[in-house]
Symmetry: C2
Subunit: 236 residues, 2 copies
Amino acid sequence: MELKLYVDRISQPSRAILIFCKANGIEFEEVKIDLAKKQHHFPEFAEVNPMKQVPAIVHGDFKLFESHAILIYLASAFPGVAHHWYPADVQKRAKIHSVLDWHHSNLRRGSVGYIFNTAVALALGLPANPQAAAEGEELMSASLAKLDSFWLEGDAPFLLGNSKPSIADLALVCEIMQLEFADEEDRERILGPHKRILKWIKDTKNATAPYFDEIHSIMVPIREKLKELKVQASEK
Amino acid sequence: MELKLYVDRISQPSRAILIFCKANGIEFEEVKIDLAKKQHHFPEFAEVNPMKQVPAIVHGDFKLFESHAILIYLASAFPGVAHHWYPADVQKRAKIHSVLDWHHSNLRRGSVGYIFNTAVALALGLPANPQAAAEGEELMSASLAKLDSFWLEGDAPFLLGNSKPSIADLALVCEIMQLEFADEEDRERILGPHKRILKWIKDTKNATAPYFDEIHSIMVPIREKLKELKVQASEK
């Protein structure tokens, strides 16, 4: 049964799904929905996802959107996926759902508000809202503190005291990677104090090598372009 | 194994969990965490949920928070729960996850912003933000339109074209019930145009009778109290 991933690698949940498939040997066709070209608003994409967002998948004739739901589906529907990504044990699974649900209203909401209003809006030529950026940073910082003090337990390399990554590690680390679009000093200010999180990012990267870097390589030229745009904006 | 639910019935996800347990014959002890008395900030509750939010559960020595994760856990861990609440089929389950994930950033986010800033803040003596109320209403209305046109398909009484309710129906209907705290004309303006949603609320209520009304009965005196507070505030 053919699997199509409708993604844009600048979108953090799109990257999580691409890395997940590659790391687990799941074959797929990558269909780029170019957000900068507003392709997510094209009528043919509304057939795939009426919410007009990436990522979305089509597997045979089954359509699905929402990245956490997709990760759970892929981990459940493809028999080759290693157990640690989404354990069958009801309590272990519940903890993964709990992190992913928490993510929606905390880290993700903060990160999207901050990065959109400090970087993405500039790249897309849209107006930025400084107050929303500040609120986003506040929520993102509070979320990183909770990750550092609660979700990353003791010396275990992954969330929930696990020795191997789950879909939650991948989803949350890809979100934090969005900070690559921020200015270097801002990134250092927000992320620098959290040594445990920096180690976790590295551990997740290593556990999914070489795909993590391959899929994130798109961020480098965009970051350079954003630097130029910021210089231009400050000279106006 | 003993099940304790840490809840406040004024919280919509708390109500969803209480109704779910009652409708499925799951025995539990209800531990009220009085939000108006800020009991969710008490140190003894941080032992249960370090995020200081209701609902949370303790089942034996297993602790869990985030209401969607709790509903999935209860449906999976208690063998008496009817299949339709959380089907075993991977694709049916994926669709339920998709609705629940969508809910986080849409209906729930809109509803919380709107109801907090038009009613709950007043009840708790906290400052309300009219702009956040307006943004909340806009997002809530857009979400109700998507429910009406997409998630509630054809003539099926429940979400995703189902003939029986799932945990997603319960979670989302309890969220919409929070509009009972709004002024009558506001509720009519927001919800009135959506006949399909009004029918769905009724169908969910009937499918979980008499527990739905029993658990929601707490809203009536609070709504009356809110009316009084609004009159007092307007006379100032």
